[in-house]
Amino acid sequence: MEKLHDFQRFIDAEEKIEPKDWMPDEYRAHNIRQISQHAHSEVIGMQPEGNWITRAPTLRAKKILLAKIQDEGGHGLYLYSAAETLGISRDEMIAQLHAGKAKYSSVFNYPTLNWADIGAIGWLVDGAAVTNQLSLRRTSYGPYSRAMLRICNEESFHQRQGYEIMLKMAKGTPEQKEMAQDALNRWWWPSLMMFGPHDNHSERSTKGMLWKIKRASNDELRQRFIDKTVPQAEFLGLTIPDPKLRWNEATGHYETSDINWEEFNQVIQGNGPCNKERMDHHKQVHAEGAWVREAAAAYAARQKEQLQEA
């Protein structure tokens, strides 16, 4: 009990918890769940974007997209490593993902249907992610907080590259503008859903806030994102797909319709447009790579043996 009390005092003083420090089991589990979900999201997110690398319309666009997706893979790596400091291996995390016990961001269960989707993902999905991640730089678990610092720098570049694609499309030919609007129509609501349920419906928020794992509530972060993004859409000359969207002078915030929570729940439960496709792809690639990983392990073991004999 006293340990828990000291732990809370430490957190309240804005100190960081490090891997070897004592922590309540629930704090450890909460962080493992959140960090591994974050890592899986980075990795699964490579699929919808990777889908367009081979169709990128210029060499420059192809290079930027490749570099961006590579960054996402790198984020996955730091985050898996951060979670490993809590006593879980990457293999275990991947097994949990495959068993459906660990989640990844539902936004990646939507398809990428035209080139403007690559712009919309950078602008909206990375924009929403970075809004959340900027606040996570102050999260109480040290390795997670440090990973976030690094990731945020790269994510803001991603958001800019996405917006650049949107700008080119929105100011391009009528067909390009149509693609841009279509992408915004399809990605707007899933991006808002990325912040999770309303605060009064979020089971884990309370403890997460108390332990300063989470630093701002779902609704606060969502509002921050909406207020920042609506003027950007106006600048592009595109229409946000929400007839009730309006600026409220009194609150200084935009008002929107409510999210379709039925869709949100369906996608989380595995019934989104691409849930099965994303998981099948990950499982298949993982299974196909087994012989390579076995070879690498066998070779490494033999090298070690030879080194010991020498």
Partner: protein, 249 residues
């Protein structure tokens, strides 16, 4: 053929090779056997596409018809592509990806090393820039040749199969085109025969260190024509540019 025309052809040959290899590697995104390798392969893709960009930009300048590197990449037909046939071969499995890359890496390291001394300043500059990238690629793929060759029975079987299947495409990579002779004589491009000799020595060294054997040379090399693999690849790669010719991306 004037020197400029010959050099244009040569830059296309090297540029297209990088473009097509970069594209093949980019197909590996989210398909690596482990996350680290996924990142490494797409990083190589990025390097090759960067090399293609520089070479094709130079080719466009030499041609003098105002074609950009994007025009050359996205608006030529399959028969106009000059890439080595080796690099259009598909990513059959990880062993093929590594074997193909290794065979090209050894070649490109030797090529770029010599290209640094080209009497053409632009090529010399590219040679030293690209060599840094290719040296790193070769270190990576040589490591995998050894790991797969000496790993398990399955990995050995697969990497040997890949090397044997791809071997038939190597003479084309190593043989100079007739228009290259004059460029070699002027010291503009490296001597292909010298590269071919060093290439074989280095490849065989890595193969034997990895417990693999050099495949039999084919008596009759396959006809020098592109495969259907390339036709499909270009259809995908050029889709947006071809469908919306008025668009700027």
């Amino acid at each position: 053929m004037t020197t400029n025309q010959a050099l244009y052809q040569y830059c296309l040959r090297l540029g297209d090779t990088n473009l097509i290899l970069g594209h093949r590697l980019s197909e590996m995104c989210s398909r690596g056997p482990m996350l680290e390798e996924d990142i490494a392969l797409t990083n190589f893709a990025l390097d090759h596409i960067g090399q293609a960009e520089a070479l094709l930009q130079y080719a466009g300048k030499l041609e003098g018809k105002g074609r950009s590197e994007d025009d050359l990449s996205y608006l030529r037909n399959v028969e106009e592509f000059e890439n080595f046939r080796l690099v259009e071969q598909p990513n059959t499995d990880f062993a093929y990806v590594i074997a193909r890359q290794f065979l090209v890496d050894v070649y490109q390291c030797l090529l770029y090393q010599k290209m640094q001394k080209s009497t053409d300043e632009t090529l010399a500059g590219m040679g030293s820039r690209f060599l840094k990238e290719s040296t790193y690629h070769l270190r990576h793929t040589s490591g995998w040749m050894e790991r797969l060759g000496l790993g398990t029975d399955e990995s050995k079987r697969r990497i040997q199969q890949a090397i044997s299947d791809l071997w038939q495409f190597t003479p084309e990579m190593l043989t100079a085109k007739s228009y290259e002779k004059e460029l070699e004589a002027q010291g503009i491009i490296p001597d292909a025969e010298e590269i071919a000799l060093d290439w074989l020595v280095q490849v065989v060294r890595v193969l034997s260190r990895s417990g693999l054997h050099k495949p039999q040379d084919v008596a009759v090399p396959p006809p020098i024509s592109h495969s259907d693999h390339l036709v499909r690849m270009l259809a995908e790669m050029q889709y947006l540019q071809r469908t919306y010719p008025d668009a700027r991306w």
